[in-house]
Symmetry: C2
Subunit: 128 residues, 2 copies
């Protein structure tokens, strides 16, 4: 798993961009959580025996860890976080409106790089 | 939490009693698991925000531990396990048919002793 920490660097964010970034971050988080809740509901509806229930427990436990690990709102790592979220489909390009064009370009380039490097490890909405 | 281990002693079980004991054990386990599944369904239906989902995760995790810890099918501790299950309501007196009367009496005495000693720590069907 890639770590956002290793890419830490200083990036200036204007107040307007911070507001847009927070909105984009929250939208991605809400989308991701909604997908997890929908998947948990689907699994719960299909519980036939205890093993199904314990698989749901494992799914929820892993989902919680993914959420905690992924959604770190720190400006020093935010471009990288956005790149990962864009790659995984939780963030849409349209959510980035309000950020400066160089930041948007960097986020998209980062997402593309993540796609190439971590081609078969990403969790995407389609897979969940 | 009381441990069944500390009460380990040799108890003779006839083949017919072993069969009856296995049936009683399975009935209690099925009842307990059904209650957990029903409670999980109730909680899932009431999930409004992520914290509700993580509370469901915690509930499932604790339930799995309780099941793993409680349901130990070993003849050396079975009377004690049955006493605990009888106290907690997962085992009914009617389930004990097929066991010798001295064993049934010991299980009931044990359940009563557990009720007195661990009066406010037991997980019961009514509380779950």
């Amino acid at each position: 798993m890639e770590s956002a920490e290793q890419f830490t660097r200083y990036v200036p964010w204007s107040p307007a961009e911070k507001k847009a970034a927070r909105r984009a971050f929250d939208q991605a988080l809400e989308r991701h959580l909604s997908a997890i809740i929908a998947e948990a509901r689907r699994r719960m509806a299909n519980v036939v025996d205890p093993s199904d229930l314990w698989e749901l427990e494992t799914y929820l436990s892993q989902s919680r860890k993914t959420i905690d690990r992924t959604y770190q709102y720190r400006y020093s790592v935010l471009l990288r976080v956005f790149s990962m979220l864009l790659r995984d489909g939780w963030l849409k390009e349209a959510d980035l409106v309000g950020l400066q064009s160089d930041k948007i370009a960097e986020i998209k380039d980062g997402a593309e790089a993540f796609r190439r490097i971590f081609n078969d490890t990403g969790e995407t909405p389609d897979e969940s």
